[in-house]
């Protein structure tokens, strides 16, 4: 998968690039409007992460150019402005998703994966996590050795979040925000995360005989492939 990251803040860009590369993406980056424009003209990408405030131009203009060229790339807008107006404008111009700074890299990764699944496979993808565990992202069903797992909506989302971000430890905050959105202040309620994890872990363990979710004491959880 080829990914173009357009972000003018070098430290953040470095982190995004690092994270996405770790999860199997071929990353390229641009820090200015003009260099981004050049890359869009010359190459083909599966997905573009687009910061709309660039030092020498507006990212929305790049989005227009992409769409004018008939690009199939999925576009995720990154903005420091939590602005409904910008969001709607971006989505109307053909962006696939919108994320507001500051975000968790896991969330960014999950969003990019989701939009690539929608774009590239037209919603039909069965992720083969390992020999036993498969996830059908179109039907939103996980199965172990062909046997469907009965997961709640939240448990399914949690499983997918783990699988997509399997190289990294996931913090409580990141999981809570992914499952319930960032509109609720969840800091005092990591029990909710714990309960969801406990249920998912129980179901996975009883179906596979293997504990996929490793607890990192005090910090969060990590996907552990057997």
């Amino acid at each position: 998968m080829k990914l173009l990251i357009i972000e003018d803040e070098p430290l953040l860009l470095g982190e995004i690039e690092n994270y996405m590369a770790e999860h199997g993406f071929l990353c390229e980056h641009a820090t200015t409007f003009s260099s981004a424009q050049e890359k869009i003209m010359l190459y083909h990408y599966d997905a573009v992460v687009l910061d709309i405030t660039l030092p020498d131009g507006n990212g929305l203009e790049l989005l227009k150019q992409l769409k004018r060229r008939g690009s199939e790339a999925g576009v995720l807008i990154v903005s420091a402005k939590d602005s409904l107006h910008d969001k709607l404008t971006g989505l109307n111009l053909g962006a696939d998703d919108y994320i507001t700074k500051p975000f968790h890299l896991e969330e960014l990764n999950a969003r990019i994966n989701a939009l690539i699944r929608r774009k590239s496979y037209h919603g039909h993808e069965v992720m083969q996590v390992d020999d036993a565990l498969h996830i059908d992202t179109a039907a939103k069903v996980a199965s172990v050795n062909g046997q469907e797992l009965t997961l709640t909506k939240k448990e399914y989302e949690l499983l997918l979040y783990f699988v997509v971000n399997r190289k990294r430890m996931l913090s409580h905050q990141s999981i809570a925000e992914h499952l319930w959105g960032d509109s609720y202040d969840m800091t005092d309620n990591y029990n909710f995360v714990y309960l969801q994890i406990k249920n998912l872990r129980k179901k996975l363990t009883s179906a596979t005989g293997h504990d996929y979710i490793k607890t990192v004491y005090g910090m969060g959880y990590k996907w552990a492939t057997p």
């Binding site: 430290l11 968790h104 909710f192 004491y217 969060g220």
Partner: protein
């Protein structure tokens, strides 16, 4: 005391003093001139009587006494004075003025006393007093009438402007507009006030914009800190180290939430949300109840929901924020195994939850950064946002605590 009362009071005092002094002066002047005139007249009478005596005739002027005095006692001595004489007709004592002189007539000496009736000085007093009291009364009535007239006409624009000033707020949509009175002092005041209001509005707007920009600028560094902390957390480390990182993350999360809420408040202050449209409020509530239902359930809180279909002219996004803030507030402050309700009717939206009473005055509940001492980790902005959203929609937020239940009601108009 109003300005009018103050000026009236001074005016009345000055008038009374002037009337008093004028009355007194008038009395003295009248007294002096009347006395002079009477003395001249009496002296002339005495002279005429003396001439008659010299001619051997006897005058028949009433109330005149002529007594011969021995030469050795005949020191010429003119005496004027007041006396009372009994009037047989009116049967009362009358005021008289008398004059006594000793005249030499053909070598003999006669003491001649003449008298004249006059209106007593006390009657002068009374007359002057009555006239001046009447004058004072008329002046008072005229003053009151003029003041009434002034209040009705000249002061009217002033009071109207005062009313507008009272209603003025730097955050109001419309600039301050005052009546022109056509009176120089008021016009100057109007200009100064309008200029001050304009300047305040500009500064307030600049401040609001600054807040919004500052919040935006903070987002990118926050994103860097958060991603770096996430990265750090991936390395194998000691328990002590991981604890530090977790604490740092908690701080960053708190800052993130705070900043997000401040940004929303700044936008509400800046009136960034203008797209009012019909909103299915019951659907908004249902959506958040669905999202949060399991959070309540996980804490063993019974959440009773009673929703009537309600459609309102509102801002869609903010309606969601309001509902979610009220529900998460209820979730946070309801003890384990407590109970909460969410009720929607055409009149309003009510959220109640069981719990301990507030540890601060309820009047501060909707203030920014006001939070329970027991929960210092919250931003204290959730209810302030609810308040601002209500204000924007002209809804009325209300809070009450009865029988161990917190009750938040948003009354729609």
């Amino acid at each position: 005391m109003t300005l009018l009362q103050k000026t009236t009071r001074l005016y009345v005092a000055a008038t009374a003093l002037i009337l008093l002094l004028a009355g007194f002066a008038l009395f003295l002047i009248l007294q002096a001139s009347v006395r002079d005139e009477m003395e001249e007249e009496l002296a002339l009478q005495a002279e005429l009587i003396a001439e008659d005596l010299a001619a051997g005739e006897h005058s028949h002027i009433p109330l005149t006494t002529i007594v011969e005095v021995p030469p050795e006692a005949a020191t010429r001595k003119r005496v004027f004075g007041d006396t009372l004489v009994y009037d047989q007709v009116q049967r009362s004592a009358e005021d008289y003025y008398y004059y006594t002189d000793v005249h030499p007539v053909n070598g003999r000496f006669f003491k001649i006393t003449v008298m004249d009736a006059y209106m007593g000085w006390s009657q002068y007093y009374t007359t002057i007093l009555v006239v001046f009291l009447l004058m004072g009364l008329l002046l008072g009535i005229a003053g009151a009438a003029i003041n009434y007239f002034l209040t009705r006409t000249i002061w009217h624009p002033f009071f109207e402007n005062l009313r507008r000033l009272q209603g003025f707020s730097v955050s109001a949509a419309a600039p301050l507009q005052l009546h022109d009175t056509g009176i120089r002092e008021f016009s100057e005041l109007k200009e100064v006030l309008e200029e001050m209001a304009t300047r305040s509005r500009q500064e307030y707007r600049a401040l609001r914009e600054f807040t919004e920009n500052a919040s935006h600028e903070i987002q990118t560094p926050l994103a860097i800190i958060r991603s770096k902390l996430d990265r750090l957390a991936q390395y194998p480390m000691s328990e002590e180290m991981s604890e530090h990182i977790v604490h740092a993350k908690v701080g960053v999360d708190r800052l993130t939430r705070m900043n997000k809420n401040l940004l929303l408040l700044a936008k509400l202050d800046n009136r960034a949300f203008q797209d009012i449209q019909p909103v299915d409020f019951s659907a908004v509530v249902q959506e958040h109840v669905d999202l949060m239902g399991e959070l309540f359930a996980m804490r063993g809180i019974l959440l009773e929901v009673d929703l009537m279909p309600v459609e309102l002219a509102a801002q869609q996004y903010l309606s969601g924020v309001l509902v979610s803030n009220l529900l998460s507030n209820a979730l946070r402050y309801t003890p384990q195994d407590g109970m909460a309700t969410a009720t929607l009717s055409a009149g309003g939206f009510t959220v109640t939850n069981s719990g301990e009473p507030l540890d601060f005055p309820p009047g501060q509940l909707f203030d920014r950064f006001k939070r329970s001492h027991a929960r210092p980790e919250t931003t204290g902005l959730g209810l302030a946002i609810v308040f601002e959203i209500c204000r924007m929609h002209a809804w009325v937020p209300d809070y009450g605590y009865e029988e161990g239940q917190h009750r938040f009601t948003i009354r729609f108009r």
